[in-house]
Symmetry: C2
Subunit: 221 residues, 2 copies
Amino acid sequence: MSDRSQRRRDLTRQEIKQTARNQLVTGGPNAISLRAIARDMGITAPALYRYYPALDSLILELCTDLYTDLRVACEVVRDQVAPEDHEGRLLVMVREFRRWVLSHPAESTVIFGPPLPGVDQFHQQCQDLSHAGVQFGQIFIDPMLALYHQGRLPVGKAIVDAHDHAHGDVPPEVYTYFLLKWTQFYGIIMAEAFGHLSWAVADAEPLFEAEVTAFTESLIR
Amino acid sequence: MSDRSQRRRDLTRQEIKQTARNQLVTGGPNAISLRAIARDMGITAPALYRYYPALDSLILELCTDLYTDLRVACEVVRDQVAPEDHEGRLLVMVREFRRWVLSHPAESTVIFGPPLPGVDQFHQQCQDLSHAGVQFGQIFIDPMLALYHQGRLPVGKAIVDAHDHAHGDVPPEVYTYFLLKWTQFYGIIMAEAFGHLSWAVADAEPLFEAEVTAFTESLIR
DNA sequence: TCAGATTAGTGAACACCGTTAACGCAAGGA
DNA sequence: TCCTTGCGTTAACGGTGTTCACTAATCTGA
C-alpha cells in the first residue's frame, strides 16, 4: 500500500470514529450503529468493514481517543499552574476531571461505566504504560509522588503493590494512597454523572468541593 | 377484572420479570430482549405487550426488584448483629453491599451503572420514601443517625440539606456525612465491579477493607 | 343459560440492527 | 498494458422492538 492511500485510509478511519462519537453524544451509547454511521457518511454499512472488523473494535478504539481527550483536557489546566505547585496542579486536574465528565456524559458512560461489549477487552489490555487509561492515571500519580517526596502526603500502610503492574516505580504506600483517593473521587463524580445523587441533592457540587477540601486539608503542610 | 384473573395476571408479570432477569444474569444488560423472553416463556413477543407497554417499563420495574433484593440481603446480615451495635451493623451491611454487587455484576450494572434507556426515569421518581432506591439508602442512614445521637459520628459542616428531599428528618450535617461516605463506598465498589481497577490491582479487597477500616477508625469512641 | 364484553395470544408486517458473501469498479504497481 | 489490491456496492440472513388486525377463550351480567 502506498503512502498516499495509507494516509487516505487513516483519514477515513478518523471520520468513522468522529461520526460514531457524534452519535454517541447525541443519542447515548446505544445510538452508536454501523448503519447510522454509514448513512451519515454517505456510504453503505458493509463498507465500514474495510476499516474495522466489527463494531466492537471501533468502540474499543474510540475508548482510547476519549481517554486521551480527557487526559489532554486535564493536562491543559494543569499546565496553567506553576510546576512546583503540585497541590494546586492536583486540584485543578480533579476539578477538570469532574467538569469534563459532567459535560461529556455519554463519553463518560463508555469509558467509566460498566464494560460494554467490546469495552471489556479494553480494560484487560492495560498492562503497559502506553495504554490510554493508564496514562490518564499517571498524570495524577505524578504530582502525588512529588508531594510524597516533599513529605506532604499522609500515606498509610502499603496495602497493594504496584510492582507487578504498570506503575512499577511508585512506592507501594503512595500507590495505595493514590488508589484510595482515586476511587473516592471516581465515586463522587460518577455517582453524580450517572444520576445516583439526584434523589439526594439538587446540586452535587458542594459535596464534591467538600471532598476536595478534605483532601487538601489532609495534606501535611 | 375478577380477583382470580388479576392474580393470574400478576403471576405472569412476575414470570416475565424473572425470565428477563435470567437473561440479564446470563447475557448481560444487552441480552434482555422481548423476543427472547417470549421464546423462553413459550409465547410470542407481542403477547408481552399485554403486560408491559414497552421494554423500558419492564426494565424499570426490574430495577425496583433488584434494589429490594439488595436491601433485603443487607438487612439479613444486619439483623444478625446486635441491634445496639450500630457500628457493627454498618460494617456488615457495607461488606454485604460489596459482596452482592460482585456476585451480581449484571444486576449491579443496571441499578448502579449509567442510566439505561428506561432506567433514567427510575432515578427521577425517587422523591418519596417508598422508592426502592431511597429505601436502600435509608438502611445505611438509620445506624449512622443512631451513631450521631451517641455522639460518635465525626460529622463536619452541613453542606447539603435533606429537608427538601426524601430523608426530611435527618440533620443536615448527618446527611452530608452520609452522602460523602456513600459516594466513597460507591466509588470503590463500583470501580472494582466495573473493572476499572483491574489495571491497578489483581485483588481490590484489601483496598476496600482499608476504606472500611478508615471509616471505623474515624468514629469517635 | 346465554349473549356480550373483555382479555390473552397469534401471525404478519415495518423499520431498524450487525454481519457475511458475491460482485463491480477504479486506482497502483510491475 | 495487465493485473493485483483495495473500496464500495447490492442482496441476504438472522436478530431486535413495536404495531395492527384478528382469533379464541374467558369472564360478566341479565
